[in-house]
Symmetry: C2
Subunit: 425 residues, 2 copies
């Protein structure tokens, strides 16, 4: 059987399982999650052994340290994987909820019922914890899952898949509810993203290159997250006490996350008073500042010890540094800030610091990004911080789900009609 | 300037206009709709003249009568176009609504704000009324629109576009808020559906061939409607008084609509008592019955005068007849009915006739279609009947919008965060 056929076979089985899952009780789904968590704890040694094999091959293949780090499973990681499953079990079940039920003049009652999407394909890098996490989110939301993790994690993923099978069997749910693609052949991805009959949506989790390729080649809808070029705009009416803490947190709490700020915009009126304090904080943390033509002389004049000042060029407005670098630009005021963000942002997360009510409200409404904030750090753009309980990813798409995607993002709503024999006239 | 460039230019202008529309007041949007309605009434003669030119060319080109019918504008059609705009003006504005605003442990308040999608491309056949209707729905939902109607309607569309421009100008909204592609070159469609930078979603309205082609070639999300292979299932516990009226309405009220029933399923226990009455009604209306192996002898034995009985083959379970033909199949009961529908339906609309509570609830939950009904005619699957006030189409997709798509389907939700200086710890 070639790879195309074997992935189609997975798809057919997943579609069949999805019918059962759509009707599965909350009790059965939670029982599966808890049984899987227990099995993961019980199989700790087997998981560590499988992971050791992956790590040995990866080291031999010369994998980068950051990738080795993400591939590594230790006792703490295994416990947190099990605890993550229990947390998802504790979340409310989104499926079956009927909302907006209204009686129409014809006599019928019309409402919307929340239902699973069906079959979800998850494509991710060599991070074994994603296998358990993604399986749990799909299952709790009533979806069958086909998981395709990075080939460097294949032994770990097989071991986790075995635990998931034990969980499914304990809850009497179909084995094909969660299927892990058990091949390192890259053609499997191409097959998975071009089966609209069997896969309803693809969620890629990984680097930009992987996601861009999947978005281009997919023949099924993709819930995708591209860049996180996030902005903080300091308005002329900003509260001086809030400025440095928010900018510091947004840029420096973690450099490598997608909700980290990459560009700082300042209203002209406040720039001269606000910038030196910000720059001193950045200098102390070793953050390089790529400055616009107006901010550069201003900061040079301030002569802050250790400040790394570099002239910005247009590329800096687009760049997601994921590093101790920030672009700085002085704008005339709110209008130019909004225009700059809507022109250059990747549509992820933007924040305004202001005490001006009208400016705050205009920023919220007019900035076209998935998360828009007033007087808070961009770092809050996260499923857990938003109260979703879990997160499969952050969408920078505009249709279906925007921003952090939790269980609800893996569902849809169909129309339900309660009639009493009505016919249309 | 070649066609690719000129469509890109439309896209750039639409993107710019979309920023203004996203922030436009409800008052301005409604003023535009009412001014356009007035102008359409005022320009009645010009519209009739333009339409006469289109009709003359179409007749010369040998267009089919059904297409000529859809292309024709008369006084009544013009008045109903104007009234349609006023109805959309009267609908509540979906934009800016904030829901689910909750305070999180960190102190931030997080909610969702309803926002436009941005730029919507509508591709449709030679139906001039769609030009006004689609423009109005996009504008009311805060979206810029690029409209590409069938080339046979170009003169009519130009005349309607002029009225729309008068409306935009009266409300001081950007001229590029609604742009009608003013060329009959087919390459325009190809360009429009491959500009993700400038177009956020494509809504094709038309025949299956057009929609399938767009879905395959598009590089932007498509809200699409494919087949309407709708089912009515008569359960063993059906109320005999409801059966014939619902089946009659679902199949025969209009043969050519997507929510017309195409397959009738009957539980074995009720088939012998229910089928003769149904078949007599179909015979009286000249509806051909394509019968399964079990129903065919039963109906032959009933010897209903004028009944057109034909043996069904597998193709009949898939077919959207859009004609006085219905497929009939006897199933063991609810389980087989649900399995048959989920296997063969196009996911549009299905109805069960039953008095059994558990069967009704299972049908609603387990049938994977965009509208699922109990004891009502499938013909109710419609934006107006559901209370949406208007409809841009019916989606058979599973992500974003399912079923009838009104103003809300042309919007999305972004996250808004109200902070007080919070940073993430």
């Amino acid at each position: 059987m070639d790879i195309q056929q074997s992935i189609r076979a997975l798809g057919q089985q997943a579609r069949k399982a999805s019918r059962v899952l759509a009707a599965a009780s909350t009790h059965a789904k939670n029982a599966m999650l808890i049984a899987t968590a227990n099995e993961i704890r019980r199989q700790q040694d087997a998981l560590l052994r499988a992971n050791a094999k992956d790590l040995a091959s990866a080291k031999q293949a010369g994998l980068e340290p950051a990738m080795l780090d993400r591939l590594t499973l230790n006792e703490k990681g295994i416990e947190s994987m099990a605890a993550g499953l229990e947390q998802i079990a504790a979340l409310p079940d989104p499926i079956g909820e009927i909302t907006e039920l209204r009686r129409r003049p014809s006599g019928i009652q019309v409402g919307k019922m929340r239902v699973p999407l069906g079959v979800i394909g998850i494509i991710y890098e060599a991070r074994p914890n994603v296998t358990a996490d993604a399986a749990a989110l799909c299952l709790k939301s009533g979806n069958a899952a086909i998981l395709r993790g990075g080939s460097e994690a294949i032994e770990s993923n097989r071991a986790i898949a075995a635990c998931i099978q034990t969980g499914l069997s304990a809850a009497a749910l179909p084995a094909a509810s969660v299927q892990v693609v058990d091949t390192t052949d890259r053609a499997a991805v191409g097959a998975l993203i071009t089966m609209p009959d069997y896969v309803d949506v693809i969620v890629p989790r990984g680097g930009k290159g992987l996601i861009a390729r999947i978005a281009t080649e997919a023949r099924v809808p993709v819930i995708k997250h591209l860049d996180g070029n996030c902005h903080v705009y300091i308005d002329d009416d900003a509260d001086s006490v809030k400025i440095v803490p928010i900018v510091e947190n947004a840029k420096t709490q973690r450099y490598g996350t997608c909700n980290t700020a990459e560009t700082l915009l300042l209203a002209q009126k406040i720039a001269a008073t606000a910038l030196p304090g910000i720059a001193a904080m950045f200098a102390a943390k070793g953050v390089e500042m790529r400055c616009c033509e107006e901010s550069l002389p201003l900061l040079r004049q301030a002569a802050i010890p250790g400040a790394k000042l570099v002239p910005a060029n247009e590329e800096d407005w687009r760049e997601e540094y994921l590093a101790p670098i920030i672009a700085i630009k002085i704008v005339a005021g709110l209008n130019e800030a909004i225009a700059h963000i809507n022109a250059w942002s990747s549509g992820h997360t933007e924040a305004i610091i202001t005490e001006n009510y009208t400016h705050a409200m205009r920023f919220l409404r007019e900035v076209d990004s998935s998360s828009v904030m007033v007087n808070a750090s961009t770092r809050f753009a996260d499923g857990f911080e938003y109260g979703l309980g879990a997160e499969i990813g952050i969408s920078t798409d505009k249709i279906h789900a925007r921003g952090p995607v939790g269980l609800e993002g893996l569902t849809s709503q169909k129309w339900v009609v309660f009639g009493h024999g009505e016919i249309r006239s």
